[in-house]
């Protein structure tokens, strides 16, 4: 029996746009940075976790949600999971969730959208990381 495992961290957008205090410019993954890693969806036992790191430029109280969205080959989009980060009188907060990717198929893509649900006065950035966990056992 052989065991094999791989953990990969994938950042779709290395330099996410700053969201200002109006919350009006909530960010979406730029089209060029959408993940179209077609082969990995055919992998058995793969798990995916979305990790959000919210960074404020001043102490504040804000709530930001990040949706991870699947787009299929027909262009139909589905929200797979939502991660919510709440900061109360602070400058930084994190949250993470596992994402059900069992329905992903070969030509599907993933993108992220960020929305502010509780506004503050600070400017902030959301750094999102996709963590792929791939354990395997060959008997």
């Amino acid at each position: 029996m052989s065991k094999f495992a791989q953990v990969s961290h994938v950042v779709l957008d290395m330099i996410p746009a700053s969201i200002d205090s109006s919350g009006a410019n909530a960010t979406n993954t730029p089209a060029e940075l959408i993940l179209s890693a077609s082969d990995i969806w055919e992998c058995s036992n793969l798990r995916l976790k979305l990790q959000s790191d919210l960074v404020l430029d001043a102490s504040d109280t804000v709530t930001v949600t990040t949706d991870i969205k699947r787009t299929d080959r027909d262009g139909s989009e589905t929200t797979l999971e939502t991660v919510t980060v709440v900061i109360t009188a602070g400058t930084r907060g994190q949250a993470s969730k596992y994402v059900d990717i069992s329905a992903m198929q070969h030509d599907d893509t993933l993108r992220l959208t960020t929305t502010t649900t509780v506004l503050g006065t600070a400017n902030y950035q959301v750094f999102n990381t996709l963590i792929f966990e791939a354990p395997f056992q060959v008997n």
């Binding site: 990969s8 950042v11 089209a31 940075l33 890693a37 058995s44 792929f132 395997f136």
Partner: protein, 141 residues
């Protein structure tokens, strides 16, 4: 059994923000030597599915700037991605699939920024980029 790994490797997590793009020149920015990507044993795989994605961030909306982003080992350019911007502070890009078949595992890859038409104002740019590689393997009974 299908086994696939997806790797996302940044070239430079904190690129030089003082790179001027208002003069025509090659190699106005290169990945620092210590941060270049050595593919090592990965190059032994028969199948590699690789692309480079990234963002060019300007410190102000530039008037117009044209150039190339190259993925190179210093001797061979494995891909050249042309770009043209106009009055924007951000340009995102994704290359077509790269042919890394002839990359030497001991020769680090890096990105280079060339300017072929200079911005008419004194703006600077940061080049963020990462290499995404899928490595599929099928184990048959």
């Amino acid at each position: 059994m299908n086994i696939v790994t997806l790797s996302s490797i940044p070239f430079d997590p904190k690129p030089d923000a003082t790179t001027a793009v208002n003069a025509i020149a090659n190699d106005v920015y290169n990945t620092p030597e210590e941060l270049r990507i050595d593919l090592g044993q990965i190059t032994r795989l028969n199948y590699l599915d690789a692309e480079v994605v990234g963002s060019l961030i300007f410190d102000a909306a530039e008037s117009a700037c044209v150039g190339n982003i190259r993925i190179t080992d210093g001797a061979t350019d494995f891909h050249t991605e042309p770009f043209t911007t106009s009055s924007t502070t951000r340009l995102d890009f994704k290359t077509s699939k790269l042919n890394l078949k002839n990359v030497n595992g001991n020769t680090p890859l890096y990105i280079a920024l060339d300017i072929t038409t200079a911005a008419t104002t004194a703006v600077t740019a940061e080049l963020f980029a990462q290499l995404r590689i899928q490595s599929p393997l099928i184990v048959s009974d």
